[in-house]
């Protein structure tokens, strides 16, 4: 009898307490279906989206592509970058893997916002804005994926990347998708940009919000860059003109103010960083003595180009690292490495229009004027280029000087088909060889990470890496 009572007691104790022990809920996280349920959570998700985008432009896009080009070099021991610098990278590159992953995270968060926001209660304008931002960031993500891993039409092309447009909740067989064609990937970028242009507001409540988040002008600016990559010169010129004529934006004088002041009129889209979200550009370039890592420096030849004209304001934003005997850019100089990062700025619009006009060929004076606008702001004289060919060369050179450290050069060289001829005698301060050359055209795209190719066996590795 006693036994029975005790056994009953056991069962009772078990039932009463096990709920307490088993029915636990996370405290710092919420279930996916509770994530985006109203305007304020949707806004939180959009902010989370930018938080992830910060991981794309903290330094990854800029440093990886500049080290791949003739702008910057890796001078310490981080061989993920050394291999890129020496044109010998392999698919075990963790930095490339990180960039690849965070780009798709941006895509997934955008997909969630695009799928959920139409179903929530809220003002149509607010919802459109949130959707527009998600389309814009997704466009940006696929644009980066396309140019890093797929190539650039007319420059060097392999296939496009896997496109995923629905929120991920679990995993389905369709997630093991093959690569799309390069055209399909770029078409996705265009489609998202046009949708974003339609949905985004013209302006926001204050300057910080206007710079920190895309507006219609931002969509136009990225469309200008997009059509430049597509060699659709008319559209590139047209969208660049729309931004240039937008009185809220201008070329900021003096040049260094673009970087010394946050959210200037130069910026069309500027990612905001603070002590909690550290951008890493300064850290890579600044010497150890100034609490940087000092692992990336300008190629000596680039430094000489930048300072050839003593008046060039851009050459003045350099300094010497006396420990490593190399030069670095001082565009980003806030201690704690918390500088904002401008993703698209006004000078690019002028240079896009200059290039588009040059290629169209009917308004070469206009092209030279745009080029000179950028040169004048930098404090140097007008260009002497006059013919189409001269202008092409001058614009490419100008883009290099203007966007030192900002990650344009590598793609400019591929886009214009000059990578194999320009990247032939690249001298590194630390390399064991006197110079390095890009000899394999197939290395104009980066490798997909090993882990992705092993996981998704339908995804074909780029030809140089298989």
């Amino acid at each position: 009898m006693k036994k029975k009572i005790i056994a009953l007691g056991f069962s009772a104790l078990m039932v009463v307490s096990s709920c307490d022990v088993l029915e636990l809920n996370p405290v710092t996280q919420i279930d996916t279906d509770q994530a985006i349920i109203n305007v304020s959570t949707a806004q939180g998700a959009v902010n989370g989206l930018y938080n992830n985008l910060q991981g794309v432009y903290d330094w990854h896009v800029q440093v990886l592509s500049d080290v791949a080009s003739d702008v910057s070099q890796q001078i310490d021991t981080w061989d993920a970058l050394i291999n890129i610098d020496e044109f010998s990278q392999t698919p075990d590159n963790s930095e490339v893997s990180d960039l690849y992953t965070v780009l798709y995270r941006c895509s997934d968060i955008s997909n969630n916002i695009i799928a959920k926001v139409p179903g929530i209660e809220g003002a149509e304008a607010t919802k459109n804005d949130l959707m527009g931002q998600a389309h814009f960031v997704r466009a940006l993500a696929y644009f980066e994926l396309a140019r890093f891993f797929g190539g650039i039409p007319g420059g060097y092309e392999e296939a496009g990347v896997v496109i995923k447009l629905t929120p991920s909740i679990g995993i389905s067989p369709s997630d093991y998708a093959p690569r799309t064609t390069l055209t399909e990937t770029y078409q996705q970028v265009e489609s998202d940009l046009l949708t974003a242009l339609n949905l985004l507001p013209e302006t926001r409540t204050d300057n910080l919000q206007t710079k920190a988040r895309p507006t219609k002008a931002t969509a136009r600016a990225l469309l200008a860059r997009y059509y430049l990559y597509q060699k659709n010169w008319a559209q590139a010129e047209s969208y660049a003109s729309l931004v240039i004529s937008d009185t809220r934006f201008s070329l900021v004088v003096p040049f260094e103010n673009i970087f010394r002041t946050k959210n200037t009129a130069e910026s069309i889209f500027e990612l905001q960083y603070n002590n909690n979200d550290v951008s890493g550009l300064r850290n890579w370039y600044y010497p150890t003595s100034l609490s940087g890592r000092g692992g990336v420096a300008l190629h000596d030849a680039t430094y000489l180009e930048m300072t050839a004209d003593a008046n060039d304001a851009r050459g003045k934003l350099t300094a010497k690292n006396s420990t490593t005997n190399t030069y670095y850019t001082t565009k980003w100089n806030t201690p704690g490495n918390i500088d904002n990062v401008s993703v698209i700025r006004m000078a690019e619009m002028y240079l896009i229009r200059a290039e588009a006009r040059t290629e169209i060929g009917t308004n070469l004076t206009g092209a030279a004027d745009d080029l000179n606008a950028v040169r004048t702001r930098a404090g140097i004289g007008n260009t002497t280029a006059a013919t189409q060919d001269e202008l092409r060369t001058a614009i490419l050179a100008e883009r290099k000087l203007e966007f030192i450290g900002e990650g344009h050069r590598w793609f400019d060289l591929i886009r214009t088909g000059k990578a194999l001829t320009v990247l032939t005698n690249v001298k590194r301060s630390k390399g064991s060889q006197s110079s390095y050359a890009l000899t394999d055209a197939r290395r104009q795209v980066f490798p997909f990470p090993n882990v992705e190719v092993l996981t998704n066996t339908n995804l074909l590795q780029n030809s140089a890496y298989r």
Binding site: T28, N51, D79, P91, D108, K164, N274, L290, V451
Partner: protein, 1014 residues
């Protein structure tokens, strides 16, 4: 029932012997070893059940009528002694310890069992085997002493974690660590340090080894299944000492010693002039390679290598470490109350400045009888450990890391007295002098229990326990360091609390039928809840180097987290024993865990085992050599739920940035601690994919073995073969990253562990003045990943790869077959074609698993001298010497070299595996397999030589026993491994084993001590 039987027997005997004249004998019974009087000793007249027990002062009076009577003195733990009475009226007796009988009780899950009727595979390590071993970490005490248990310290840092594997690894992403249970309380054993710098700490180091009575390692499913869902990796039961009926006994043990590096780190050092010559050689070779073999126009980077300065970084960071231990306990008791109170202070300095480990602990174990039927007891343990740590391991700010990275041709200090700074790397002198890293753990393990004997044989036990870990960590790098330099100091402080409460209720019933059928039933339930909270603050910009607390910092960040898990269980066991010949045990456990999906929350884990004691069969009576022969077989299912996130089954969004670190491998996405805010705008983001079907990892284990005793158990052999099959692995299955995630925790994949274990104990000589006991064990485990979704890489540069058909911890590298003696260039395995392509020609080359592990111990006693020599070995394990990847850089880096570079090819005809120093052989995209080395070793792990003063002298000093000893650890090491120590793990992650990268080596310790008993 029992009483009846006894009574009948007694009457029968009484009737037979008849009646005689009554005699009276008195006397005192003492313990031979310490001359203490022994209360409670049974004194019986041989051939009868009559007799008495000794009083609390050890005295007895016995009356009897038999002629030629023989008195039998018996007491648990002592050899039974028979004395012929003859004409004596006073018989004083001293009883000797019965080593064999002491070893007979084996602690099992929720109980104890006689070794002879045990049907499962359990290894026992007793207090005597592990006394005076200088290690703070109890798990390292069992290294080499239990067959089938692999223990390998992560590093020589005192208080560090260790790899402990009972019969292999059953899991990939969940933990493969065993469950630790101390006095019935499942305790926290996984690292609680927030910042590991590649080196985990072990909460097991909080325990005081001197408190331990025995350690039982439950290995097969029959032994472990009673722990159900947490038993797949084996269970380590730790039982602490408790008081016995005796007068108060005081026991004090103290030792002090010093530790040094057993292999001189300078052996791996390259001096300043040699560094410059090597750099010149590489430059010259590279110049020739690009200038058609000519050196015309070549300028060496270093003009005068012979004039180079020579900084010895090793001497700057290494130290001889002091070691000190004092433990004392008082124990005793009466029939009603028994107690043991102990205290311990342990301090050990590491080999690298300024590391040290200090533990201060206290324990109170009490048992008191409230009535004849009810016993109440407590086991309360409190300890404070203080660790001063230094960064090392897989970390570019480490002390040893940079003692290699910093070339020897640069000075320690700049002209202004500040440590010299190279880009990226922290000056090793700055690491040891200008950074602080302190971790303090306060731990309370407390337990209150009650035993109620409801009727004879029916016992109810309830137990309430707490394991509270309170960890504070403070880190600070001042403005003289690279980390803190540009920001005027950089620091962090954190508080972590890991709180477990456990309730356990057990009903057991033991009875016999007709003297031959013995039954033992057990039924119980347990509930456990864990709550982990953490608060972290970081700071930068301190007003000066004297300010090290964040309250002075100008820029601060902070965060607070909290998470929980719980488990609820029902379990039962039936033991059946027929005439001590046929034994049968079955265990069942039903577990529910908060970690699993709503669809699969509960799991059932059964096991069964059987034993046949052949030596108790009649047909064995004539085989005199065999004193015991028992065949055992068991099969059962156990589970694993540890090591996965608390809410792994749920799709989650969170307020912390979901990010990856260094390529990510299969570390789930939510590894960052930054808020997912955008500037000042609050945000959140996806963290985890949902898997509502998530459930236990299940391991089925088959075990067959035998226990053999020869020559009256002078030789005892235990042999086991096991086959462990794990399915539904809790696997971070890589998913296409195009989904925005890198992994989904799934029950996918299969793992196999098969092995054999052999343990032999022999009493080679057992004479009064000379005894020699030998213990030997050897075991083999073959681990195999049988099925996973897709192979995936781990560790930086994808050096480790998990792939079907290979064991875990396999290394993935460019297979270097040799060096061409003519050209000096590396020869590579080129795969299917003749061209070496670093993109694709990578292969699995070796793994970290040993082929065999084991230990050999010799205990010698000659008169008052004793000697224990314990050897431990590991054969066939490979070590990936990642140091060589960095420090054998062939001139491709500007950082320092290690001495292995000196073996480079220099001229045609040289035979070596270190190729010619030129870019072609050292390009940074190469992952050469020559860095994967044979890590086999044999160690004289412990040597202890003692002298016990004769009783006459110690008694005069007021002591009952006094022993002096000298001891040593790691005195001899035989290995071909070229690094500082073959026992290494450079990374805190479970899947990364056998990697050596700037790991603090195991120390060689010399020490002296004294054991005193009052």
């Amino acid at each position: 029932m029992q009483k009846y039987v006894l009574l009948i027997f007694a009457m029968f005997f009484m009737a037979r012997v008849g009646w005689g004249q009554e005699k009276t004998v008195t006397g005192t019974v003492r313990s031979f070893s310490d001359n203490e009087s022994l209360p409670g000793v049974n004194v019986t007249i041989k051939g009868t059940t009559m007799g008495t027990t000794t009083a609390s002062d050890g005295t007895y009076t016995v009356k009897f009528t038999q002629e030629n009577a023989v008195l039998i003195f018996s007491f648990i733990g002592f050899a039974t002694k028979e004395v012929e009475v003859g004409n004596q009226t006073v018989i004083d007796v001293s009883l000797e310890d019965d080593i064999q009988q002491l070893g007979e009780v084996i602690v099992v899950g929720y109980g104890e069992q006689d070794r002879r009727t045990l049907t499962s595979a359990i290894s026992k390590v007793s207090a005597a085997e592990i006394r005076d071993v200088p290690t703070p970490n109890t798990s390292q005490l069992i290294q080499g002493r239990a067959a089938g248990v692999l223990v390998s310290a992560n590093s020589g840092e005192p208080g560090t974690g260790a790899l402990v594997r009972v019969r292999g690894s059953t899991s990939i992403n969940a933990s493969s660590d065993p469950l630790y249970v101390i006095d019935g309380i499942p305790i926290v054993s996984a690292n609680l340090a927030r910042t590991t710098f590649g080196q985990a700490t072990s909460p097991i180091a909080d325990l005081n080894p001197a408190d331990i009575e025995s350690i039982e390692i439950l290995k097969d499913a029959s032994a472990t299944a009673i722990y159900g869902a947490r038993a797949a990796n084996g269970v380590i039961l730790i039982t602490t000492k408790r008081g016995a009926t005796s007068r108060p006994k005081i026991s004090i043990n103290t030792y002090a010693g010093t530790s040094t590096a057993w292999r001189d780190p300078n052996d791996l050092r390259v001096d300043g002039p040699t560094f410059e010559k090597l750099q010149n050689e590489a430059a010259a070779n590279n110049y020739m390679d690009t200038h058609s073999g000519s050196l015309a126009g070549f300028t060496a980077p270093y003009a005068n290598p012979d004039d180079a300065i020579d900084t010895n970084w090793m001497d700057q960071i290494f130290q001889d470490g002091a070691l000190f231990n004092l433990d004392a306990n008082v124990s005793g008791g009466t029939e009603k109350v028994k107690y043991l109170v102990s205290g311990n202070r342990y301090k050990q300095e590491g080999l690298i400045k300024p590391t040290n480990f200090e533990r201060t602990s206290g324990r109170a174990n009490l048992d008191f009888m409230v009535s004849d039927k009810i016993k109440l007891g407590t086991s309360i343990f409190y300890s404070t450990t203080v660790r001063n740590r230094v960064q090392n391991g897989n970390n570019i700010n480490g002390a040893l890391t940079n003692a290699f990275f910093y070339p020897s041709n640069i000075p320690i200090y700049e002209a202004d007295g500040v440590t010299y700074k190279r880009p990226v790397f922290e000056n090793p002198v700055a690491v040891v002098k200008e950074t602080q890293y302190k971790m303090v753990t306060d731990r309370l393990i407390g337990n209150i229990f009650a035993d109620w004997e409801i009727t004879p044989g029916l016992i109810f036990k309830t137990s309430w326990s707490l394991d509270n870990n309170y960890v504070t960590e403070d880190q600070y790098s001042n403005s003289k360091t690279t980390t803190g330099g540009g920001v005027n100091g950089s620091g962090s402080s954190s508080v972590t609390q890991d709180l477990n409460w456990i309730n356990e209720n057990i009903l057991s019933y033991q009875f016999e039928r007709s003297g031959k059928h013995k039954f033992n039933f057990l039924l119980g339930n347990t509930l456990q809840k864990n709550t982990n909270t953490q608060v972290v603050a970081t700071g930068q910009q301190y007003p000066g180097d004297n300010f090290t607390k964040i309250s002075s910092a100008a820029i601060t960040t902070s965060r607070a987290d909290m998470t929980q898990w719980g488990i609820a269980s029902l379990f039962g066991r039936i033991n059946y024993n027929y005439a001590d010949k046929y034994l049968f045990t079955t265990n069942m456990r039903y577990d529910g865990s908060s970690r699993f999906g709503a669809n699969n929350r509960w799991g059932f884990f059964p096991s069964a085992s059987a034993g046949w004691v052949m030596s108790n069969e009649q047909f064995m009576d004539d085989v005199n050599a065999v004193s015991e022969l028992k065949l055992r077989v068991s099969y059962g299912v156990t589970g694993n739920q540890s090591g996965i996130a608390n809410f792994a089954s749920r799709g989650l969004w969170g307020g912390q940035r979901g990010g990856l670190v260094g390529g990510g491998g299969t570390v789930p996405i939510n590894t960052t601690t930054q808020a997912a805010a955008y500037g000042d705008f609050p945000g959140f983001n996806p963290i985890q994919l949902a898997n509502p079907d998530l459930k236990w990892e299940t391991t089925s284990q088959f075990d067959i073995g035998f226990d053999l005793g020869l020559f009256e158990d002078k030789v005892r052999v235990t042999f086991d073969y096991y086959n462990k099959q794990t399915k539904d692995l809790l696997l971070n299955v890589p998913v296409p990253r195009s989904t925005g995630y890198n992994v989904l925790v799934q029950n996918y994949g299969e793992m196999e562990n098969k092995g054999v274990e052999l343990a032999v104990k022999a009493s080679a000589i057992a004479k009064e003045s000379l005894t020699w006991d030998i213990g030997f064990n050897i075991s083999q485990n073959k681990n195999l990943v049988k099925k996973i979704a897709a192979p995936f890489p781990q560790f930086t540069r994808d050096y480790i790869r998990v792939q079907e058909g290979f064991p875990l911890y396999s290394f993935w590298a460019h297979e270097q077959i040799g060096v061409d003696p003519q050209t000096g260039n590396a020869i590579w395995n080129t795969g299917t074609d003749d061209v070496f392509d670093p993109n694709v020609d990578r292969f699995i080359v070796g793994n970290a698993w040993p082929d065999f592990i084991g230990g050999l111990t010799n205990d010698l006693r000659y008169k008052n001298f004793d000697l224990t020599a314990f050897f431990q070995f590991s054969v066939g394990n490979e070590i990936f010497n990642y140091n060589r990847f960095f420090y054998e850089h062939g001139g491709e880096r500007t950082t320092g070299y290690s001495s292995q570079q000196l073996d480079r090819w220099q001229k045609p005809g040289d035979v070596t595996d270190v190729p010619r120093m030129a870019r072609i052989n050292y390009n940074s995209n190469l992952r050469p397999s020559r860095h994967i080395e044979d890590g086999s070793y044999l160690r004289l792990k412990n040597l202890n030589i003692g002298y016990t003063l004769p009783k006459t002298i110690s008694n005069k000093l007021g002591m009952s026993n006094l022993r002096l000893y000298v001891a040593g650890q790691n005195l001899l090491t035989f290995t071909k491994y070229s690094g500082l120590d073959p026992e290494v793990s450079a990374d805190a992650a479970e899947l990364i084993q056998g990697v050596d990268y700037a790991v603090m080596p195991q120390p060689r310790i010399w020490m002296g001590g004294v054991n005193i008993t009052f």
